[in-house]
């Protein structure tokens, strides 16, 4: 699975995700990627893209839950993703990338690794694979 989230200079947010699914998947199996609100979501608060165990991400309507947690709890993007990873999903389930309307970025996972990268207009650049890199 691959994905991207962005904030532009007009203050608009967008999210996109694409996948080949899971190896050896059976006829008609669909994961979280094309399910708006589960694997992909963007509103006026944040843009989120997920990767991981699709069924778990769908059960928890994960991407939308992250945005809602921020909006209704006055939480940061970092806190909201942490909430879903630690309180809703199980260890080893998933990873998320997100950006909020202020351009704050977060890339977190409860798996051993996630191929990820980020950059902002201040020049903060991150390219990582493992959790503890």
């Amino acid at each position: 699975t691959v994905g991207a989230v962005a904030l532009d200079s007009d203050g608009k947010l967008a999210a996109a995700t694409s996948t080949g699914g899971m190896t050896n998947k059976q006829f008609g199996r669909v994961g979280d990627v094309p399910i708006i609100g589960s694997g992909t979501f963007a509103n006026h608060v944040a843009a989120i893209s997920a990767t991981g165990w699709g069924e778990q991400i769908m059960r928890n309507v994960s991407a939308n839950t992250i945005a809602n947690y921020m909006e209704f709890n006055d939480a940061t993007l970092e806190q909201a993703i942490q909430f879903v990873l630690s309180q809703r999903l199980n260890p080893g389930d998933a990873g998320f990338i997100g950006v909020d309307r202020n351009g704050n970025l977060s890339m977190q996972m409860n798996t051993a690794g996630m191929f990820r990268a980020s950059l902002d207009s201040d020049g903060n650049r991150v390219v990582m694979i493992w959790q503890d890199e």
Binding site: K12, A14, G21, N24, G113, D120
Partner: protein
């Protein structure tokens, strides 16, 4: 407040720290290249939608990642692709599942969002929708890579021996559990 910002991912899961340096570098290079695509769009005042579409297209075209070329195999030995895009400023969204001949599913997802009154097309219907657009089409074997094919063959063999064990086997020598999409 940042003027612009972007993040991308190329999948999560079990990624061994023993990944050979040469392969590790290929992944870093792939991530850097995709990031550069997004940077160029946003730095020049482009939209967030353009940025995420272009970045995902780049990753779809990179055979290292499980999307577009380089996608994993289904049980039947084919490739079925899914994609979605969402515009936070309008709540517009477009999504597709079960595509088999669209080279860059994310671009078709954007057309679903902008050019159709609907949000989600599946399987045969998604292909039919693609027929009404100018998106680039390919044969299904365009998505084939030898590495994914070998991974799929090992999964098939493992499933014959012990289906339960196959659920736990790490298939891409260093990367990704079977359960992950």
């Amino acid at each position: 407040q940042k003027e612009w910002a972007i993040a991308l991912h190329g999948g999560a899961g079990t990624i061994s720290q023993d990944l050979p340096d040469t392969i590790k570098q290929q992944y870093y290079d792939g991530l850097e290249e995709a990031l550069r695509v997004g940077e160029l769009v946003l730095r020049d005042g482009g939209s967030a939608l353009d940025a995420v579409e272009q970045v995902v297209r780049n990753l779809e075209d990179n055979p290292l990642f499980n999307a577009g070329k380089g996608s994993v195999f289904t049980k039947d030995g084919t490739h079925e692709l899914d994609a979605a895009i969402m515009d936070g400023s309008t709540l517009g969204a477009g999504a597709l599942t079960g595509l088999t001949t669209v080279k860059n599913p994310i671009t078709l997802a954007r057309k679903v969002m902008t050019d159709s009154p609907h949000i989600f097309f599946s399987g045969v219907g998604a292909e039919e929708y693609a027929n009404q657009t100018d998106v680039e089409r390919v044969e299904n074997d365009h998505f084939h890579t030898d590495q994914r094919y070998q991974q799929w063959q090992r999964a098939q063999e493992q499933a014959l021996v012990d289906p339960a064990e196959a659920e736990k086997t790490s298939l891409y020598d260093w990367i990704e559990d079977l359960k992950f999409g």
